[in-house]
Symmetry: C2
Subunit: 362 residues, 2 copies
């Protein structure tokens, strides 16, 4: 059976003859291979049907595996509602975290004899544990991402703007075969780096200060995500100290990753390292304003969430980012991020780029 | 009053002392200027509050206009729920088309004394009519998009792949100052063009056949969207006829645009032209598998929807795409797309690139 067929079979095992309306596109892709931007899947004990529109007629036929394809002239959602009526289904689950409220209301109005029941996001939960081919796909995406970074930093000039660097990296990813960027590339230099999610500016990178470079590729559908620190010109002692503390926090977090460890433990290891360092009057755990990481795969943000109060336990096959950071207003920011796969006994870092602060002569 | 302040005042006029939870990020940006990737806005008769997390502390303070900012250590949604409790609000509307089902359930569970009421998407409806500065922003985005197209086609070589062309266009948009692409660029050559939403392949463009090039930029937050047809090497008679029919259909649709005309009329004008042409045994209206266009602005797809059965009437200030196409399996596809603003007496095409089939020597 194909990997997609196995997934559908596994989903049916979990559903135990319940029916499920799968609405989230990455879940649809995971189950059926279909990559279109519009579609709905209905999984019943006996059938699995993809509803989409005329724009995707040939694509759906070519891609979709293990499901019937219905191309509707009108709304594909209306076609799904009709099918639920025709099949006289009395109970259909839906992905309550990933479906707009109004869509559930519409279905309840259209098929009054069927009970629509909110489910936890079953397919996303299946996706948390990656198969060996999926881990290889993420490794490939990470390798491409690293190659783009190396190429652009090697060719970079100190008169490039943040926006130029971001554009060059995304172009390089595409030229190396990526479908696109997994998220908008962040390049944030000097005090702009104090914004963890800074947008690249049309401003030359600040000489001798830390620049955050955070980017990811999509390759064969799978995301990568990496943050490295670059300085164009030798950075000062404060900057080096900030970077060093974050690098050490990241190492401590990675060191904690193994099966059965709670996600919050990984986070607290990073925090603990930062809590011992004070820069510009700030204890760095106070400057660590986000969580330590997140799962990734077909989407750039997936469960598990590596943050405080997260008791979910790591399991072999999970793939997560480890990305502590520290942000000091007026000074700048530092973050170091790798993609890490949980293995049977510990973990494997899938990101190959060295983590050192990269200093480019300026 | 700033434009954003006016928008908030206008929203309050519509709400008539009701409260509204604004959850869609483009709606939040429209009302407050905040561009972060996570946030919630609560508008009450007396206050407007943006809830976000520590990553956006400085950015929210710097950007957000006319609203209080609450940075929460835990979940910003929990902070919003607490505020609803503290303010003893008894009724809060929500954007039912743009909010996940589970989030409404969460709020109803947290604040049992408040009634959460589904509303039509009030802010999106406000956004349908663009102000003069918004139309100028879209015009600027379209001009940038056209410049990127011209530059890349001029420099293109017949041995470039579809993927390379897409990457070059997106790079050029960035280098010209765009924040990014408004959607994944489509380059689809030869029979691949029969897929309306084709993904660019790592395959050289087919000589002497139609290639669909469909791309858009985001500039200052505003989207553009254009499709042009290119042939590397002289195309054959069938291809030229297909292109000609679509071009004529587009002209007929644009010609119909003026205030008070129903959206479906614009669509049927394009269809009517295509219904008179038969290529490869297919009447082209049967090969026109999507609708004629969509609004655009802060998002690439906004109301109104220019399709069959759409009775909404055009009004001055609406900005829409006009993009009929025809797709013939085994032959290829053609689409021509411009961005058009509805004016007091008719319309203005904002896209400046000539619509002719561009033939590049190969």
């Amino acid at each position: 059976m194909s990997e997609h067929g196995q997934r559908l079979a596994r989903l049916r095992d979990i559903l135990k003859r319940r029916s499920l309306y799968v609405s989230a596109l990455p879940n649809i892709r995971y189950l059926t291979r279909f990559t279109g931007s519009a579609g709905h899947v209905l999984v019943t004990p006996d059938t699995a049907i993809l509803f989409t529109d005329g724009r995707y007629r040939s694509q759906a036929r070519r891609q979709a595996s293990g499901v019937q394809v219905v191309i509707s002239r009108g709304s594909p959602l209306a076609a799904l509602a009709r099918m639920i009526s025709e099949q006289r289904l009395r109970r259909v689950g839906f992905e309550s975290q990933r479906i707009p409220y109004a869509r559930v209301r519409y279905l309840r109005g259209e098929v009054t004899r069927c009970r629509f029941v909110p489910e936890v996001d079953i397919v996303s939960q299946m996706r948390v544990i990656k198969s060996a081919p999926e881990i290889e796909a993420i490794r490939g995406s990470a390798a491409l991402n690293s190659a783009a970074f190396a190429d652009v930093v090697d060719r970079s000039r100190p008169d490039w703007t943040e926006a130029r660097l971001a554009a060059e990296i995304e172009f390089r990813m595409r030229r190396l075969g990526a479908e696109g960027a997994a998220f908008p590339t962040i390049v944030a230099s000097g005090s702009h780096g104090a914004l963890p999610h800074a947008e690249p500016r049309p401003k030359t990178v600040e000489r001798g200060s830390l620049t955050i470079v955070d980017h990811g590729a999509i390759l064969s559908g799978y995301c990568s995500d990496m943050t490295r620190m670059v300085a164009w010109g030798e950075p000062g002692a404060t900057q080096v100290a900030l970077f060093g503390a974050v690098l050490e926090a990241q190492a401590a977090a990675i060191d904690a990753i193994r099966p059965d460890v709670e996600c919050r433990t990984v986070h607290s290891r990073a925090r603990r390292v930062l809590s011992k360092v004070r820069i510009a009057g700030v204890r760095l755990d106070k400057a660590f304003v986000h969580s330590t990481g997140h799962g990734l795969g077909l989407e750039i943000h997936e469960p598990p969430h590596i943050g405080p109060r997260r008791r979910q336990r790591l399991q072999p096959g999970m793939v997560i980012t480890v990305e502590p950071g520290a942000y000091l207003e007026g000074v700048g920011g530092a973050r170091v991020e790798d993609v890490v796969a949980v293995t049977d006994r510990g973990c494997e870092v899938l990101t190959m780029t060295p983590r050192e602060l990269r200093v480019v002569a300026a």
